[in-house]
Symmetry: D2
Subunit: 146 residues, 4 copies
């Protein structure tokens, strides 16, 4: 059983990343992970541009949602998103590298709230996501053996 | 100038679609569009699967957000998403074709609310998105000539 | 056991109203109730005015939240609000009578979404609430005897 | 003109409080205020109880919304709520004193996001509100003279 919270967060992230075709396919890189937090980066490609010539909001949400998932799945128990609310503050341009920093705000029973800030190349905030998670009852590792 | 609301909605959608690399790249198909409404379909591919083995919520959001965009950009004036809140109701599986139906709920001044229901192959609801839009001041066609 | 859905909705509303000091104290009147729907009215009093000289948004939310509660507690099972998102579209003035119409959008397992539209004296939309409910496991009447 | 940000926040709060019948009528007390932050307290009275025998969520929202308003109106420019999303985490009981702490998360152009945590007598979190504000263009004091 993994007792160190940082080591547990890294082990959960590795287990998640092994099957996470979605994040990998979009070029996301998990920069760091810890108990209740995660930082991911992604560069806006030509394929992410929408009909207004800027990054489709869906990809900004997807980056934030991935960071959210690594943050709230960092304690050993499997959690899924139940609700997510995103505020778009400024457009993201093609070629720009976005950074999403997720920090768990609260965990109460089986529910949790995690806030994710997405910033652009200049450090300005592109979007803010608040995600509500719910524990599924499953675990990444056998709780007995770890 | 395009006076028929249905013809205008189709013309706006064509103008949007021309530059919408994001929706096309994910295999989305615009099934229908009209004044304040749009229906899009997308099939969950292997590349959209997350670390829990189901469709990454970000792609469900992206499909819903595209339908939202076609619905709220159907009146000739350009609108962007300012806020989006999504509730995830059941997982989507790889290979499943999702259908997103967007219906404008209200337009008040420069703001609008559009609701999008995402259903799975069995017709069950996968997710519900409520998006808040804001007019940018731009138009798809010259308001004088259309 | 009450088998007629309309009669059940009315019976649940009566059971709720008996203890609902909050709605009564604010002068709310339940205009109608049915399976998954409710309409309530409230007049903005002097006591509801905020520092900007208009109705405090909290009272608009409270009216909408009451209509939400009567709508999602209309099937015999007790439900509570888990999340509520409100968009304020225009101010409400003192003396104005507001009308909140709640319609259940979906019920999936123990969760549900109910939309509430609040309109002013002129019929214009003042606010839109989307509430997420969760069944508590309790019931208004003994399911055996009803 | 008031140049000290703390003094300005207190002056704005006094100007707001003078007309804020709603917060006063519910027994709210502004414990502290500063640039982009405010703390308010309110005791759950008999009149705030709903049909489930607990504090009506609307009053929890109203307390959080008041703290939000004092926080985002602390810089001299008038701001109103455009959107508010609240997550209810545990019920509040009659007689319990609730504390709402609002902290501005970001201000970008005319928009802002402010987070409010509502805690109960035991320090446990009762609810979390995220409010989106918008500047009206008005000011509390003549910008020339202050």
């Amino acid at each position: 059983m993994i007792r160190d919270p940082d080591a547990l967060a890294r082990a959960c992230a590795e287990a998640m990343a092994a099957g996470d075709r979605a994040s990998a396919g979009l070029g996301m890189v998990l920069e760091s992970v810890g108990p209740g937090r995660a930082v991911m980066r992604m560069t806006v490609t030509e394929a992410m541009v929408n009909g207004h010539g800027i990054c489709h909001g869906g990809f900004i949400f997807t980056l934030a949602d991935s960071a959210f998932a690594y943050a709230c799945n960092s304690h050993g128990a499997r959690a899924v998103a139940q609700h997510g609310a995103i505020t778009f503050l400024r457009p993201a341009r093609r070629g720009e590298t976005l950074r999403a920093e997720a920090v768990e705000r609260i965990a109460a029973g089986r529910s949790g709230l995690t806030d994710v800030r997405v910033t652009g190349a200049d450090g300005e905030v592109v979007a803010e996501l608040r995600g509500q998670s719910r524990l599924t009852g499953g675990h990444f590792f056998n709780p007995e053996e770890g």
